[in-house]
Symmetry: C2
Subunit: 340 residues, 2 copies
């Protein structure tokens, strides 16, 4: 193993506002030798996700902040290149929350085997992984869309958003997607069957566009973005609306206090519910979610999309591009091909 | 009946911002004669409540707006002075949502008989009525306080707020009340057993005062007020906090858009739940609520307080005083004594 060259990405300073390349540093290191019970995992695909921005702050949240001068961690698909555990053999494909590096040497229990005969390995970083499950539980447990209701999803062309819209369609809802380019909007309508879309970047009057797209008001708002887009949706809530709060990407880099109209009066008038959630809240129901998602995938009811950036050296750039909305579907970094 | 003089209060213009006497008009009219199945109710006590401000706007909400040049309606306790229904006889005490006038002539089904041997009739406008039930369902159904948790209630010396605090104490929580005068704060601590109080009008640093009053963070925030007080509580939410949204009195007269820090990021971080509600959502469980409230009242576990303004001519003034926080407990107008 020691002749393999490892490389990792460290967080060297905490971003203020929008992160930049200067907050990160690439470092060459040797591959750590596996001890008894450990495995060495070669990275195939890395997942870059908006929630990681929160971990770059030194503040209390549902997962601890990244430590300065330590390797960034996130969702990762890889293959076992050396195993000192009876759980795995070389060539096994696995998924885990591991470091942004070419090779991770970890306890065998830190990774889970995946079946690449069902879907390509990268699918386990989206539809059969965090983003598919996040859409599934947030929409169905908190949003609870009913047939004929209107579901609005922001960040609709992102990896969570496009599953939310498709699952809402499966449940018989009218689905309105908000996204940041005409290409994305076209994709959502033509490929995924969304009923209406709004390009928030080119729409002159978002309130009016929303009103036109939601003639019967809004019953479920799956919120991935926060900010002024969410402000606008609030005025269209129907009675007993449900708002699963999944992300607030528009706020993550905010340095001005993220001010907007208060929503309490609106929530009282409509008796609406807002609930923040993270996927780990549903850990006990994970296999139920994966089973349903896998079934819809096999039946062709659920499509997934990836924006793949090539090369480990581009991982920071790929992460930064999330905040420009550069991705259609899951933003991934392809680090290496399988050697097995 | 026709020799009785009636008087009523009309809404003659919609308030912009804070209502004034000029939005209302007193009018002398004859008492309407009761038809078959109707009763004439002499008003004993009128309830003035913050939610009425919302009905003075011409906007969609959970109850229709007041119509211009029509009589204001609200909770009212009265006695039957004439009955053309077998449901009631003269002298019966009743409660209903009736007009702000000396006499209401209504279908017998519009009113409900109350038992003035259990408690004085006015209690049916607070602890055994809307505000007691609002506190009961909002706190227990949405807030769900557990023993040892911290419950913060704003508008704590109002009629809903003081029941919230007392019920939370019955359930074993640590209770922190936010109110607008030292007298109110003293009352909450000494008479009602609140663990800590904050006078938001004299506290120089509300964030710091809240932090000191809630060393273990906030598990339940029963929100009666909205605005900057609620902004401050948000930063202390514990994981899985619950926020029953009952009122937003600070916003009702706002004409500047009611801006504040957006709360989405905070709700995601803590996976908290916010839910707007109104009492009618719990209509099916009303008798359960009244039974529990009556039991606690009889056992001396629940105290109630009234601020009584004398005289029908002062009803508008009493309503306006709500927004100055003039009331300790339920704000009532005593219109006449029983003649039976």
């Amino acid at each position: 193993m020691n002749q393999l060259k490892n490389k990792q990405v460290l967080l060297i300073s905490r971003p203020v506002g929008m992160p930049t390349q200067q907050n990160f540093e690439f470092k060459d290191i040797p591959v750590v030798e596996a001890k008894e019970g450990q495995v060495v995992v070669r990275t195939l695909y890395l997942s870059v996700d908006p929630y990681m921005r929160g971990r770059m702050n030194d503040s209390k949240s549902y997962i601890p902040p990244y430590q300065l001068n330590e390797v960034i961690a996130g969702g990762l698909v890889g293959e076992i290149v050396e195993s000192k555990s009876e759980l795995f053999k070389a060539g096994d494909k696995v998924i885990g929350m591991l470091g942004w590096q070419l090779y991770n040497t970890v306890d065998a229990k830190a990774v889970t085997k995946i079946d690449d005969s069902i879907a390509p390995v990268s699918a386990y970083l989206s539809v059969l992984g965090l983003t598919g499950l996040t859409a599934y539980f947030g929409l169905l447990d908190i949003g609870q869309p009913k047939e004929g209701e209107t579901v609005v999803v922001s960040g609709a062309a992102g990896s969570v958003g496009m599953f939310v819209g498709q699952i809402a369609k499966i449940k018989g809802a009218r689905v309105v997607g908000i996204a940041g380019s005409d290409d994305k909007c076209d994709y959502l309508k033509k490929e995924l069957g969304f009923d209406a879309t709004i390009n928030y970047k080119t729409t002159e009057n978002l309130d009016q566009a929303l009103e036109e797209a939601c003639p019967n008001g809004v019953d479920v708002y799956f919120d991935n973005v926060g900010g002024s887009i969410s402000d606008a949706v609030m005025s269209l809530l129907n009675d007993y609306a449900r708002i699963p709060l999944c992300g607030a990407i528009s706020s993550y880099n905010s340095t001005d206090g993220d001010m907007g109209p208060r929503i309490q009066s609106r929530l009282i008038k409509t008796r609406s519910l807002i609930k923040g959630f993270v996927l780990s809240d549903y850990a006990a129901r994970q296999s139920e979610g994966l089973q349903e998602l896998g079934k819809w995938l096999t039946e062709g009811k659920l499509k997934y999309e990836e924006t793949v950036v090539e090369g480990f050296d581009n991982v920071v750039e790929a992460f930064l591009q999330l905040f420009q909305g550069a991705n259609l579907g899951k933003m991934l970094v392809k680090v290496s091909d399988s050697e097995f």
